[in-house]
């Protein structure tokens, strides 16, 4: 059984969503506080959505220096899986675990709505149960979701197939992407596909009562993953 540590920062607000989703797919899911330095044998770490440290300075800028992030860095370096959702993705970029940055939406507005996406990469810990090119609909909920990176980084990401999710035009074809994100990027991963960060919220779309189950397979993929050495983060 997968051990899944959901990190709680002051201001996290999707911590329970992620915990419930992980438990739903059979993982042994538990919370880890931002001051903790022990991930308690986690196979997977989830950095949930929210507004860690009030988004002060920049989204994720202060969370990256919290004690738990040292452990998350080591965990990722050892080949452990890390899933950053929304604010978690912002933290992963600030921490340098993923390249680039997430800045203010081009339209200035906070966007909170379902969006259409294409799953671009399926050999990651969190997308293995999707079909390449599959269209999914997931909610987004962010004010700073516009992905930016320099040209060299973008070329590297595209060349190595590290764009995991891309925004698609909606059914009307009017709104290509909700935040002005470069190349419609909604999620990326590290070269191994073990560290994944995405702006949309699969944690809000894994059971019919939530209006969609399109996000469920992020979690079933995670549950199906076979880590090389289980519970590496002692």
């Amino acid at each position: 059984m997968q051990r899944v540590a959901v990190v709680r920062f002051p201001g996290s607000n999707c911590d329970f969503d992620s915990l419930r989703a992980a438990a739903h797919v059979g993982a042994e899911a538990y919370f880890v506080w931002h001051r903790d330095t022990d991930l308690r044998g986690a196979d997977v770490v989830v950095l949930p959505g929210g507004f860690s440290y009030g988004d002060y300075l920049r989204a994720g800028a202060i969370a990256r220096f919290s004690p738990v992030m040292q452990a998350v860095q080591r965990h990722a370096g050892d080949g452990g899986a890390v899933f950053g959702i929304c604010n978690g993705f912002q933290i992963l970029c600030e921490a340098g675990l993923l390249p680039g940055a997430l800045v203010r939406n081009a339209g200035l507005h906070f966007v909170s709505k379902p969006v259409d996406l294409r799953v671009e990469r399926t050999d990651t810990v969190f997308t293995s149960e999707y079909a390449a090119g599959e269209r999914v609909r997931l909610p987004v909920s962010h004010g700073e979701g516009r992905y930016v990176a320099d040209e060299a980084t973008l070329a590297l990401l595209e060349g190595e197939g590290r764009v995991v999710l891309r925004y698609l035009p909606d059914a009307m074809g009017v709104e290509p992407n909700p935040n002005g994100s470069t190349r419609d990027i909604a999620g990326i991963c590290n070269p191994a596909g073990t560290v994944v960060g995405i702006m949309p919220h699969p944690d809000r779309a894994w059971v019919a009562n939530l209006g969609s189950t399109d996000g469920l397979r992020f979690f079933t993929s995670m549950a199906a993953w076979q880590p090389a050495t289980p519970g590496r983060s002692q």
Binding site: L57, R58, L108, A149, G180
Partner: protein
């Protein structure tokens, strides 16, 4: 010795600055048609204990590199107040 340090963090030139655009639009609405190329950044002031103004600046620059500015999207300037 403690120095007052002024840090200015600005969105990198060339990066779309929607805040700046919105402010520019508002200025236009108010009749300030002479205003243009508005960009919005962030100012941080702090006291820094250091042996000299140059030392204070060097220390503040390290803070900028690690925390105040995102190297992907922002540039910064550092000014040390000389009393």
């Amino acid at each position: 010795m403690s120095y007052r340090v002024h840090v200015r963090v600005m969105p990198r030139a060339g990066l779309l600055d929607p805040q700046g655009q919105a402010v520019e639009h508002a200025l236009g609405t108010l009749g300030f048609e002479e205003a243009g190329a508005v960009r919005v950044g962030r100012a941080i002031e702090l006291n820094v204990r250091a042996s000299s103004p140059a030392d204070a600046e060097a220390r503040a620059r390290r803070m900028c590199d690690r925390l105040f500015a995102n190297p992907v999207t922002e540039d910064y300037t550092v000014q040390v107040e000389v009393a």
